[in-house]
């Protein structure tokens, strides 16, 4: 069964290897960056007959810190690396079955730097990753 809850929690569990970050399977009202969270995107149903396969898209956003903080930018660069201890792609793909919640997953895209204003706290720099997940549907 393609469970959105189990998949986003599985992705978050993979991201727990990123030491020193706040990791959440859900978006937070008051994040304390560096923060990495997961939320669902589009889903393509019925790629195979009999609910055999759905393709779900999930987004991972990493808010590194205040945009003018050089350290935050350096951390975001490490998040963006395709390997290494802080690589978001490597962390998400460390268990591609998410403990059985998915058949497979693939981090397919990453955005560039983006900025968001957190009310009363200033502008923060973040990036986001696209994760394609293949899982059997519910027959």
């Amino acid at each position: 069964m393609a469970s959105v809850k189990l998949i986003r929690e599985g992705i978050a569990a993979n991201l727990e290897s990123l030491k020193g970050c706040q990791v959440s399977a859900y978006m937070l009202e008051n994040p304390t960056p560096p923060t990495v969270w997961v939320f669902p995107g589009d889903e393509d149903y019925d790629l195979a007959a009999r609910r055999g396969t759905d393709k779900l898209t999930f987004m991972v956003q990493a808010i590194a810190g205040i945009v003018t903080d050089q350290g935050a930018q350096q951390l975001l660069d490490e998040f963006m690396d395709d390997g290494g201890a802080k690589s978001i792609k490597a962390a998400v793909e460390s268990d591609t079955t998410l403990g059985g919640a998915a058949d497979d997953l693939h981090v397919t895209e990453r955005s560039g730097y983006q900025q968001v204003t957190l009310e009363g706290r200033g502008r923060f720099v973040f990036a986001e990753w696209t994760v394609e997940v293949y899982a059997a549907g519910t027959a």
Binding site: A49, R50, G52, D104
Partner: protein
């Protein structure tokens, strides 16, 4: 039966139900177009020639026991004839859900075929030894 969306077809290969790995499915009846036009005819005259039926399917690859490759490879490598069965909806044959079946042989099979980053799929053609049969019970 009304117009319908193809979402629940069934496809069995050598008795193994591979339906939940099927992304595309086709039952193709075909016959040679034999021209028997005689002198003086105003247009071509045709009769049905030798049939050349086949099933085609696109599978999501799976190498686990009892799945796609484990079913197809032995039949390809062994060169044996095997039964292929297809329905538009489920496996209960009826006048509105006929079963199409044929004895096939695999002459081509590509267990790995695809682009990096795509879901691994393989297109398979099942040439029929003889003709496809249509059954409603």
């Amino acid at each position: 039966m009304a117009v319908f969306v193809l979402r629940n077809p069934s496809f069995r290969v050598a008795g193994v139900d591979l339906s939940d790995h099927v992304a595309e499915l086709a039952v193709n009846g075909s016959a040679a177009d034999v021209d028997v036009t005689a002198s003086g005819a105003g247009g071509h005259q045709r009769i049905l020639g030798i049939r050349d039926d086949e099933f085609t399917a696109t599978f999501f690859s799976d190498f686990a026991t009892g799945k796609v490759d484990d079913t197809l490879w032995p039949n390809f490598a062994g060169g044996s004839l095997f039964l292929v069965e297809a329905w538009a909806n489920g496996t209960v044959s009826s006048a509105t859900n006929p079963k199409y079946s044929g004895t096939c042989i695999l002459t081509n099979y590509s267990p790995i075929a695809g682009a990096i980053g795509d879901a691994s799929q393989t297109d398979v053609t099942f040439p029929v030894n003889g003709t496809i049969a249509r059954a409603i019970v």
